[in-house]
Amino acid sequence: NVSDGPADRMKCSRFLLQLVRSGRTAAQRGSLLLSPSSGQQFRCSPASAKSQPEHVRFVNDNDTKKTKSLVTQEDLFEQVAKESKTKATFNQVIDVFTKRDIRRRGHVEFIYAALKKMPEFGVERDLTVYNKLLDVFPKEVFVPRNFIQRMFNHYPRQQECGVQVLEQMESYGIMPNIETKVLLVQIFGEKSHPIRKYQRIMYWFPKFKHVNPFPIPQPLPEDAVDLAVLSLTRIANDLDAKTTVYQLPFTDITESGEEISFPHIVGIQSPNQMELLAKHNPNRPVFVEGPFPLWLKKTCVYYYILRADPTPPEEKEEEVYDPERCFYYPLQLDLDLDRDLGDEENFDVDDLDEGPVFAMCMTSRGDQTTLNQWISGLQQNNPILGRIPTLFRLDAGTRELEGVADTEAGHSHRPHPQSQREDGPPAEDPEVAVEEEKPRRSQGMKQ
């Protein structure tokens, strides 16, 4: 590292100057404070609101003149943070700083402090705030005027500070706009490091903006049911899949007065999955497994699946294509396509057979009663579920899909005869109101 001597001395003197200056400006503002009627504590204007804490500090300084503590630039933010942390107060702090001194002494430290405080005030994704922060730099002072200045990294601290502002913008994924560029050109001139960084951002960000094949809408829906529908359609991997809301969240007040909240239950099933379930051997159980995590940007939601073990090889039957199923094109072709030697498009790997997945669901509370409700809801469209034993494998924490070899110790078993339960829930379940797609075949059962 290069010797820090002169810079440190400069910094110390800068801090001392600021200490003295804060006393002086507070005194100035203290006199101003007397003009508006400041008997009350309400804020009549932003200027007076800002000056109130300054006024207090001035009084303290008068009493304790001997204490010479180092005043950092973050103190401004911290004082404001006691009141409220919003974009407006953040902008006010920046205004206080810019109006304080025409030469903007200590602006580099102020900008670093502001960058650090941005997440607390909640403005880290706001481009206007970044532009306002860049506005703190004095203009045209740091622009190199001849080739020697251009060669020798003119005003390196300020350039590094500008680069750090852009780097924070980049790390939050905010695209700068033309105002940023104009500001940077005015402050640092062309061919400076911040401008180079701006050019790099403008080159790479558009290239990577649409690189996600499964884009997530920003902002995410706040309603839990909408979020569940979004994530289920995402993981279904099938455009024909239909989502069903089996239960909307509501709270019920029982006779004793206590509130029981019921979670939402949203399920999804595609026609392929329905076919697979219809072909499933009723002697073999199906498993309700979960919860599995799914991350959407920064939120983690959990889903449950209904699956079965893969059929053992002796029970596998060849699926015969019915030629009358589709008249537009043949479903099976028996052509010898004359491939070249070695023209092999498949990898030489064994195909993993993990067993079919029949349906997925998402619910906020994953206990057996809720999932039972889901199963009974599924049963409306898949009557075979009434005859298949369902096992629940609900473990907390991250896990992969269970395998065939795992034992079923400690897992609960749903009662085998399902018929008597079928009439109960559909008749008295008033919450199954929202159904977006095809009418349920079991409408007749409801009366």
Binding site: W204, V357, E400
Partner: protein, 304 residues
């Protein structure tokens, strides 16, 4: 994505990070069979005292291990010698010329985990965790753990929170470096099952100069999540050059004739558990893909 640091600027007590430590993989964490590699000068965490031991201090002198090692090396040497008579790379030449798909890493059993190394930001003092184990039925591998992006409090590090898995360098007899040769392929094919998190695939190619030691060609791997397997095909022309996590200005395409390793990194600043299941990794030749390189090689001094 920034310049190499303006090193003439003094630190002045401000927080500065010289490198983006997200994709920095230096030390090697022990796997199922702990095996610490002998790195010449491993990464030294800021604040830790320098070790003054001579380099031979770390070598373990053990007779039985030495004998086993000798046996292994000579077996490998013999195999290599006779492989030359079969054809290039030990395969018959017609197969080498015409092959369109090659499975590089197939996770079937615990022995396949020996080829991989995992690391996380625990090396630099962070709080993430990462583990690698065989998936169910010995048929896949599961990379799981927890991500925590609290930076370590050493005054230097600004960003933290990464977890990586990297293939070990293939070694010939007597621990000589061997390279992957993917020059007849142009697409990377993976079969994975993630949990919706965005990962980054890094390919490390062999370089000549020491300045290029941390060069990596990266691209994004977006997982869909869910119970279904996801086939990911990434052409090699899409990989961009990055050095220690910073995308470089001077981009050129990935040269496939000498590849050292491939790696997966997670650093998406979302704290919490993660998991990634991998079935196999292969390369294939996609005749429909004719692009050489996806990024323009633009001017060094562009106009503003």
């Amino acid at each position: 994505m920034s310049l190499p640091t303006i090193s003439r600027v003094p630190a002045s007590g401000l927080l500065r990070s010289i490198r983006d430590l997200r994709w920095l993989l230096r030390s090697i964490a022990p796997l199922a069979t702990p095996r610490r590699a002998l790195t010449q000068m491993g990464y030294r965490r800021p604040g830790q005292p320098r070790e003054d031991k001579p380099p031979w201090w770390r070598v373990k002198f053990d007779l039985s291990k030495g004998l086993k090692g000798m046996k292994r090396h000579f077996t490998l040497l013999k195999e290599e010698f006779f492989a030359q008579f079969i054809g290039p790379m030990g395969k018959p030449i017609i197969e080498h010329m015409l092959e369109q798909n090659q499975v590089l890493w197939e996770f079937r059993g615990p022995h396949s985990l020996q080829e991989w190394t995992i690391s996380c930001d625990r090396e630099i003092g962070g709080k993430s965790e990462i583990y690698l184990k065989v998936g169910r039925n010995n048929e896949t591998c599961l990379l799981y753990g927890t991500l925590c992006s609290d930076p370590p409090k050493d005054g230097e590090t600004r960003y933290s929170g990464y977890c990586t898995m990297r293939a070990k360098q293939p070694l010939a007899s007597f621990d000589r470096k061997r390279y992957h040769d993917w020059s007849s392929f142009n697409t990377l094919h993976l079969r994975i099952r993630g949990d919706g998190r965005p990962w980054m695939i890094n390919v490390i190619a062999e370089t000549y100069y020491t300045h290029q030691k941390d060069d990596m060609y990266s691209y994004f791997l977006y997982t869909r999540g869910g119970p279904y397997w996801q086939d990911v095909k990434i052409p090699f022309s899409k990989f961009f050059l990055a050095h220690r996590g910073r995308v470089q200005d001077d981009q050129h395409e990935l040269w496939l004739d000498k590849i050292n390793a491939i790696g997966f990194t997670l650093g998406d600043k979302a704290d919490g558990p993660f998991q990634l299941e991998i079935d196999f990794i292969g390369v294939c030749k996609d005749y429909a893909h004719t692009e050489d390189f996806a990024y323009e090689k633009y001017k060094r001094n562009p106009e503003v």
